[in-house]
């Protein structure tokens, strides 16, 4: 309970900072827009292959791009934490009774708010470009949920790295190591039937794939298999809880270093 209310206070701090820089939401839309528009054109004919689950590639691509946006934005959470370390804000918070997990999850809450805005714009654009989402509002809700869980997971890794290694390079390195390979070793951009065998195998253990499978199943299928959706959501919940706990545990490592 304390953890939750503290998380909302911390989220309030980050949200106010974001409201003061609204152009940031627009600027961070540039990359997913490029992915959505460019890839939809580049791989347009993939949708003509037999066994492809949707008529248009852009409908298949849109949830993947939104998931990737969630991963990218949260994987920079460690940088904000390093700024707080340098400015002294973190030390002030740590000498207060603030719940340690709230320092991580507060940022996730704020990221969820900005992601919601970005996701609505991206989805609207995809529909305008001809995508049909059979799953409707419920499907979009599932996409939102898995984006939050996946984002929180990557946020936890990023902040844990920042607390343990305390160098910007380590956070940048971790992002480069995890985000794009995570996307391409999953079914976010290409269905499993069209992936090389080894990638399809790796994807089964990849949280990005869990999120992609759940979102595609709920959003693109006319008759979603809810067993598949709930199973992947469960795995993602375990993943994000584990990384947030690891991240919170990394405060110990920071404490030893100062």
């Amino acid at each position: 309970m304390t953890a939750l209310s503290h998380a909302t206070y911390i989220a309030g701090r980050h949200t106010k900072a974001l409201i003061r820089q609204p152009w940031y939401i627009v600027a961070s839309l540039a990359q997913p827009l490029i992915w959505l528009l460019l890839f939809a054109q580049l791989f347009k004919s993939v949708a003509d292959l037999p066994g492809f689950p949707t008529d248009s590639y852009i409908a298949y691509l849109a949830p993947g791009v939104i998931l990737m946006t969630a991963m990218f934005s949260n994987s920079w959470n460690g940088m904000g934490l390093l700024d707080d370390m340098e400015s002294g804000v973190l030390d002030r918070l740590l000498t207060s009774p603030v719940h340690r997990s709230a320092i991580l999850t507060g940022v996730n809450i704020q990221q969820t708010l900005s992601l919601a805005i970005q996701a609505l714009i991206l989805t609207g654009l995809a529909i305008w470009l001809g995508a049909r989402f059979e799953g409707g509002v419920l499907g979009l809700a599932v996409l939102g949920l898995v984006s939050i869980l996946l984002g929180a997971g990557f946020g936890g890794i990023s902040m844990g790295t920042a607390l343990s290694i305390r160098q910007r390079e380590s956070v940048i390195g971790m992002n480069q190591l995890l985000v794009l390979p995570g996307v391409f070793l999953s079914t976010a951009f290409m269905p499993a039937s069209l992936l090389p065998g080894w990638i399809a195998t790796v994807a089964k253990y990849n949280p990005v794939d869990w999120a992609a499978v759940a979102a595609q199943e709920a959003l693109l299928s006319t008759t979603p298999n809810w067993g598949i959706v709930m199973g992947r959501v469960g795995l993602l919940a375990i993943f994000s809880t584990a990384t947030v706990l690891l991240g919170t545990g990394s405060f110990r490592s920071y404490q030893r270093s100062i």
Partner: protein, 320 residues
């Protein structure tokens, strides 16, 4: 005792010994100073007492609470002003204060009321709604102290609070720190490398060097320990000095008398009390005096005596 540490030891990677068995006790309701050169271990001691850092060995208690086994309770009882400002510069002053109050479990309305009260007290009302990044250094420092006071703590830690501030701002801050003690009975532990600050502001102080307590006491006690003040008497003539020594030798007022031309150098436990006696005796004997000066021993002398080094030599950036 508001604070007590016993045998605190802390080593950083690379075998850098920050604390080497520090024992400290700080009485409640006092301004207590930790004085030492950079790297002496002052900040490390404060970080352990504020639960930021953990010692390798030893124990520390704040307001009767153990920092290792009751960190939550310790955090509720303390305010901490770090060397670096802890304020969020991308937020306004009020937002900083209200967030601080909220994580201390204070309701929103009360948090706002207290935020306004502290802004008023520290002369920050007019800038309260502006982003902290636009504030001056002195204003940020006052906000840092307001942040530390938001939840009415029992003990406040100030880590080099006046470093880099203008002399007037520093003097204002000293008054503010005295008010914490006088009006709210808060125990203040402050670290400093300014001798003048340790001398004028603290009730008691501990000199720390190489992670150990060197000597502890009130500033006057420490200086009195230096066998008293230096007294210099300039006589009217060379011939007078030997008769002056002969005259004063038996009196208890002066010790360690040395003649140097027509000057007499000596020590007195309390210079101001010795001078009238000495002048009276010399005048009665018809020995004319041209000038008398009394120099109080400084904390620099105290540091020299206990560490074998001059404090000002160990600090390149020292200013008075």
């Amino acid at each position: 005792m508001a604070l007590a540490t016993s045998g605190l030891r802390k080593t950083y990677p690379g075998d850098v010994v920050a604390l080497d068995g520090l024992d400290l006790t700080v009485p409640a309701g006092t301004i207590f100073g930790l004085l030492g050169p950079n790297g002496a271990g002052k900040s490390t001691a404060v970080k352990i007492l504020t639960t930021l850092s953990r010692p390798d060995h030893g124990t520390a208690a704040v307001a009767g609470l153990d920092v290792l086994s009751q960190p939550e309770e310790v955090r509720r009882s303390i305010g901490y002003v770090a060397q670096k400002s802890g304020a969020d510069v991308q937020a306004t002053g009020s937002e900083n204060l209200v967030l601080q109050a909220r994580v201390h479990g204070i309701e929103r309305a009360e948090a706002r009321r207290r935020s306004h009260q502290l802004m008023d007290r520290f002369g920050l009302v007019e800038t309260a709604g502006r982003l902290v990044k636009t504030w001056s250094g002195g204003m940020k420092r006052r906000l840092d102290i307001a942040l530390a006071l938001m939840h009415s703590p029992k003990v406040v830690f100030l880590d080099e609070p006046t470093t880099g501030l203008d002399p007037e701002v520093r003097a204002d801050l000293w008054d503010e720190i005295r008010r914490l003690r006088d009006l709210e009975n808060i125990t203040v532990l402050l670290t400093t490398h300014y001798l003048e600050e340790a001398d004028q502001l603290t009730d008691r102080l501990a000199i720390i060097d190489h992670g150990r307590l060197v000597v502890e006491g009130t500033p006057s006690e420490l200086k009195d320990d230096m066998k008293g003040d230096a007294v210099h008497i300039e006589l009217a003539s060379f011939e007078a000095s030997s008769s002056a020594i002969a005259l004063l030798e038996g009196s208890l007022a002066l010790r360690e008398m040395v003649a140097d031309g027509k000057n007499l150098h000596a020590r007195a436990t309390r210079g101001a009390e010795a001078v009238p006696q000495v002048l009276g005796a010399l005048s009665a004997a018809g020995i004319a005096v041209q000038a008398v000066t009394v120099n109080r021993p400084s904390l620099d002398d105290v540091f020299l005596r206990h560490t074998g080094r001059r404090f000002t030599k160990t600090e390149t950036e020292i200013e008075s």
